[in-house]
Symmetry: C2
Subunit: 196 residues, 2 copies
DNA sequence: TAAATAAATCTAACAATGTTAGGCAAATTT
DNA sequence: AAATTTGCCTAACATTGTTAGATTTATTTA
């Protein structure tokens, strides 16, 4: 009687379909275009079915956000494994963070609260990328840097990068060269300031 | 027959009361706590009355945001008038920007889109503070700097400051010393990099 | 296999919230 | 004083999140 398995598999599949549908709608129409009825339409069920898989709409957002943080983490981790020089690694990681934001703009919005409710502090998966950066920053710094100082440097990086991403998302975009300039300047500047 | 005046004055007063009520509610309950019925309750009218003064809820948000940008502008302008040294002026202005964000957190959210729909690009009053900064930055830079470069420097400042503000708003706050450290470092760093 | 049970899914509705229609009453004008 | 305009209200509609309860389908039991 392997029906249990099949049923569980189907349940899991529907759950996935809900998340996929939700994010598909969001990519097409933005976060304010998302509602439960559209998700239901998309998966060809009625709205109440969604509530057998998620307790409410927020639970869906949370789950989507989790997946976003995991994806970001994986992209960063791969860089870490493929670049040996710590400074290069650090710069590449922030550039990857930057690219992630624009390749997955709606995801970034919900992850970091850009014109959208923020889930950063509500999903533990957000820690993953944070730890990754802390580690790399510590490797760039000489000696055995104090954890608080490393943290401070992380937020120095994060502030510029996130700030620049934000203004690009809510505004008209600053133009490619201007962004690159500001970004490289800032990241390069902080790296220089911590390396010795 | 001065009744026209009185009527206009009363209309204007109600309009003001609506804006005040709205922002009072927001300060007490956050942006998601704001709705038309609560505003109506607060001004002791029924909801439809609000629509005689504002075409919809967004128009209220927009008007509140306008006032926010004007307030920020005035605070910055006063600093400009009272500090002669350009570098000091610039640093003081960004510190004022920072302080404004935390003294008027909900206002900042709607002005710059932190966990809230953003009105930055939709109200012309936002230009005022921008121009003010551009002017001051140009004064700190030697010679007659290119407008594009000045703009770039503005966004360098803005990115760090806004990024740091954002993370403090959406997160648990980094703690006073850490914030001060990052902020002073960043602002000082950019000033140093542009002054000669 | 037929009855009993459980699971899946639906219809219908409720509550909150933005918004509008239409009516009554007060104020103003003629 | 009559006519008109204005101010304000009640009632309702639409959208959207969510839940209750019926119904149908699938599974288990006898």
């Amino acid at each position: 009687m392997g029906s249990k398995d099949r049923i569980l598999r189907q349940k899991e599949e529907t759950r996935c379909k809900i998340l996929d549908a939700a994010y598909r709608i969001v990519k097409a129409e933005g976060w304010q275009g998302l509602n439960m009825r559209k998700i239901a339409d998309d998966i060809e069920y009625t709205p109440p079915v969604i509530y057998e898989h998620f307790s409410n709409k927020d639970a869906i957002l949370k789950e989507i956000t989790k997946k976003g943080f995991l994806q970001l983490y994986n992209e960063l981790k791969e860089l870490k494994e493929n670049i040996s020089d710590p400074e290069e690694q650090l710069e590449a990681m922030w550039m990857a963070f930057w690219n992630f934001a624009f390749k997955n703009m709606e995801m970034y919005q919900v992850m970091f609260g850009v014109e959208m409710t923020c889930w950063l502090m509500k999903v533990p998966e957000a820690e993953l990328q944070y730890e990754l950066f802390l580690e790399t920053i510590a490797r760039v710094m000489p000696g055995e840097p104090d954890a608080e100082v490393v943290k401070q440097k992380y937020f120095s990086f994060f502030s510029v990068v996130h700030g620049l991403i934000s203004i690009n998302i809510v505004g008209d975009g600053l133009g490619g060269e201007m962004n690159t300039h500001i970004l490289k300047d800032a990241i390069g500047g902080i790296i220089r300031s911590i390396r010795s």
